[in-house]
Amino acid sequence: MNYTDAITGKNIVKKYKNFTLNQPQLHIPKGFTTALVGENGAGKSTLLNILSGVRLDYEGDITYFEGSESMKTEQVKERIGFTAPNDYFFSNWTIEQICQMYDVLYDNFHVQRFKDLIRELEIPVAFGREKTKRRGLFDRRKGSKQVNQLSDGNRIKLQLAGVLARDTDLLIMDEPASPLDPLMRDVLCDKIRSYMEEGDGERSVLLSTHNITDMENVTDYVCIMEQGSIIEQGFVPDLKEKYILVKGDAEQIPAVSGRLFDMTKNSYGFEGILLADHSEEVAGLGLSMETPSLSQICVAVMRNYRKSR
């Protein structure tokens, strides 16, 4: 698969007392949605904070858009949108104030689009009528809600409305789906696909998620992270050819033991992941073979890494 980089990283290192992020090479493909997967504390948020320019205290080189820009260039922040799982608005701000802040901060922010998104994402806020301009964008009589009056899900949606109301070329989202209900996760996926379509290959999305099953139908490229480094990555169809889901009966366990990349046994048999390169080793044993889900691949890779550590 030929592709160019939306983000290119070299020797990215960030040291904490008990944890080190260390990513010698990083390539996030342009024109695709990349999912960053990994257990809690693997370093996903640290990496995303660095890539989005929130954290600047790291070593290494990062460039954007096929190497054309870095965080030092003026317009790069206009081209990147970032959402975080924690609050990044002041909690006593109203939605109206947030809208005004975005308008001041970014040249490419569209107030009307923000309002449309607020409606579409069903964020509870009362709008003033268009004609009564003196009441502003939001109807104060009905009250424009403050951030701290919103649920976790609505706070994330507010951030999404903020980034999607701007014209950007790269969205970096840290756990955008976690606080959302199933219906809104579906809306999120639709929004990502629309964003990609409007970009026609020029836009990219990088998101982290615990719930890869919900995001599988929007994910093109996966990076699996463990202990501060990406241990496996690739386009989804390629990974689905590399790893094979095998199942067998209890009697077959001795014959396959040690030949599988990952295996879980139960009283009646086993299920495991086989590397396609090693498939001839178990040929003729009569195992059933299937294409694994993205979630099954991620779990196997993470478990295999822990075992071999």
Partner: protein, 121 residues
């Protein structure tokens, strides 16, 4: 186009099959562009890479051509040749069925009946 997530047939394969049929039956005219990769992904609620893989397969089969920045257009098809190829495929499959039938001792009459019944499906 109907996409099944549970049929066991990869989704990109289902998309490629559907477009192949549309091209061979002339629903897509020569020179016509297929829907954009990302537009189709949005419509079908699937990932970009899945539609891309489907289009790449059609390209490998010589049915479409990729144009940088414009998408995939339908090639001029040699319909007679394609039909011939498909006929040969059908013939092979039927021969295989006949061989299996003979092995199982099924009479020609029974086989013919079976085929007529299946054609009604």
């Amino acid at each position: 186009m109907r996409i099944s997530q549970t049929s066991g047939i990869p989704i990109y394969q289902q998309i490629a099959d559907s477009f192949r049929q549309d091209i061979l039956t002339g629903k897509f005219q020569e020179g016509e562009y297929l829907p954009s990769i990302r537009g189709l992904a949005k419509e079908l609620k699937i990932s970009v890479i899945t539609t891309m893989k489907a289009y790449e397969q059609l390209q490998a089969e010589g049915l479409v051509t990729a144009v940088q920045g414009k998408g995939f257009y339908v090639n001029e098809q040699n319909r007679e040749m394609l039909k011939e190829q498909h006929l040969r495929k059908v013939e092979e499959s039927l021969l295989e069925a006949i061989r299996s039938g003979r092995l199982a001792g099924i009479s020609d009459e029974e086989l013919k009946n079976m085929l007529s019944e299946l054609l009604l499906l």
